[in-house]
Amino acid sequence: MPVPAHLPPEPDVRPDATRRDAVDAPAGVAGPAVALFATCIADTMRPSIPIATVTLLERLGCRVSFPERQTCCGQIMTNTGYWDEALPAVRNHVETFAGYDYIVAPSGSCVGSVRDQHAMLARHAGDQSLATAAAAVASRTYELTEFIVDVLGIVDVGAHFPHRVTYHPSCHSARVARVGDRPLQLLRRVRGLDLVPLPEADQCCGFGGTFSLKNPAVSVAMASDKARHVRATDAEFVVSVDHACLMNIGGVLHRQRAGVRTIHLAEVLAATGPETP
């Protein structure tokens, strides 16, 4: 497949954007080495997401590795109030990824947790050296679309996905990781893709981690509204950069027999043929 043309550099808004020069290599030359943070939920529940991430990054010229010690960002424990219980996961994450220049994850929420919570948890535990190491790892951690758009400087990834889709900007990708419109920039260049705007897209889907279990009625009320908006678009697929939200939205859509499927953006971007994943 053709190597996509590089765009002019964007303003440096991501952490450690100076590292971008590593990929200003001529076409055909191997791109940067990337450590994949698969995220525990995708690893366990929907491995097609990290598989698609690998496929996509390799297609874009990256050398991808998967450090097998990795587990989880610890957010589920942190946000439920169990900070002591989250700490081993944080320590493991920091030690696992300490040696890598680019750490890429197909999740705005997990990247948000790495950036916003890891150093804080270490400081709370009184471990200053872990806090410093965590901040360093966080500064080299990218949500997938940030990495593609900002570091690789690519918006046309050569994907082909001939379907009607709508995009749900997950709260943590939008307001914690702050990926902005990068997912949409990438989606708009996918061949054959019919992108339909989602009404009230910025509203939370109601997942909220253990919120969905502690306050199930409110969570479902929010998820039903989100599902209603998705159905109003008449899309075949609802796309997001966070699988957790897709599980929630998809759970309601499936119960309603709505005939709308959920798909992670990585899976859309990895697709190159008309066959559905």
């Binding site: 366990t44 929907r46 990290p50 989880c72 424990m77 696992t96 981690g209 306050n215 199930p216 998809g250």
Partner: protein
Amino acid sequence: MTARRTPEPGSWLGIPPFPKAAPGALDKAEQRRNLRHATTSIREKRAERADEVADWEQLRTAAAQIKDRTLRHLEGYLLEAEGAMTAAGVTVHWARDGAEANRIVTDIAHAKGIDELVKIKSMVTQEIELNEHLEANGIAAWETDLAELIVQLGNDLPSHILVPAIHRNRAEVRDIFEVQMGRYGAPAPAAMTDDPAELSAAARSHLREKFLRARMAVSGANFLVAETGTLVVVESEGNGRMCLTLPETVVSIVGIEKLVPTVEDLEIFLKLLPRSSTGERMNPYTSFWNGPTSGDGPQDLHVILLDNGRTNALADPVGRPALRCVRCSACLNICPVYERVGGHAYGSPYPGPIGAILGPQLRGMDDPKDAALPFASTLCGACNDVCPVRIPITDILVHLRREAVDHKKAGRPSAERVAMKAAEWAMAEGPNLERAQGATQAAGRVLRDRWIGPLPLPVASRWLGARDTAPPAARTFRRWWRDHHDEDDR
């Protein structure tokens, strides 16, 4: 026992903790429509008014910094304010808690032989339940803000910081006015419709005789300027102006976090507050007062500086930014949880995101109702982005969740704690997670493509009650990776 003089309000005590109160609130279809309509329109107005200010983000930063500086040196600013107010002829009182503040107000009224007073809309008097304390001491306190009047006459509880009757629609307001006004003063006109102009005309004539009769008013304050001792109240209806000019005596109850150092600092807050709260460029009435003026307006001014738990929040560096709050209610209007359940389910006059962080800090978390509040949020973060004083609401929520859990850990081990301990082990290193995935993969192999539907299991049903779930993968990603890659890629 003598008969009550004012309508008996609803009871916060009767409301169960949020997870139990919320489902009932969700079932109130009419209230949900009202809330959805009101919050949607007000947040659109807010966004428009914020967008037209070129340096909005810098103003938010400046406001946060001014408040932080004030809070860092609060003792000095409080003493400065006390000195300036005393010099201007204001009697300054200090109250450690609601009970002390209530007693001070009662004593002032009793000393003057006053048995009824008018009130400016004030969150702090809701917080300390002043009206009920006064009622118990034979003093009738009349709310004069239209929405507060609706709540008071409706034997109700406020459900929003700015629009306490947001859960009511016009038809309900009409019915309340028709039945109740005559019992407590001038009745509603016969054949009144639910036209807003007719409703506000009825409120106006009902309140007018109370204003003209009142010898004492009670207010809160939006700001207290330390340098000059100036009190500031912003409002939309002019009822506050009436309360501040007609009676002989005005008592203002001011939380100690309401200070700003100088008059210049107000420039920033008076730009941020109306745009954030009502979506207006400027609020219709802004009152400043600075001690009595001989022969003009109230001659006896009192200020009660109230702690009531604020110093607990101040002592906590993570929780402290909650004291920056200017009670604009933008966080309520944008909150998807608040929009659906409304204010009462939060069990206190401070609902929504700010209520979920302020209540547990002011009151502590001994009461299960307070301990549940930090969990009444999806952490979607919409509140953080609209807060005019940049309170990191979700960070404080997560911090308070930890405190709630630590509090709970002292007690019996719970199923949740067992689950979190299991997660701690599984996530401590890759091989552990892989062992745990043995079970999920087995389930995935059995289920293949079959989704999981409703199951009558205790915790699972909370998810599966209304949502299906796809089966876990029969082969995890890490297994796939190992099958496809050599040692050196790992």
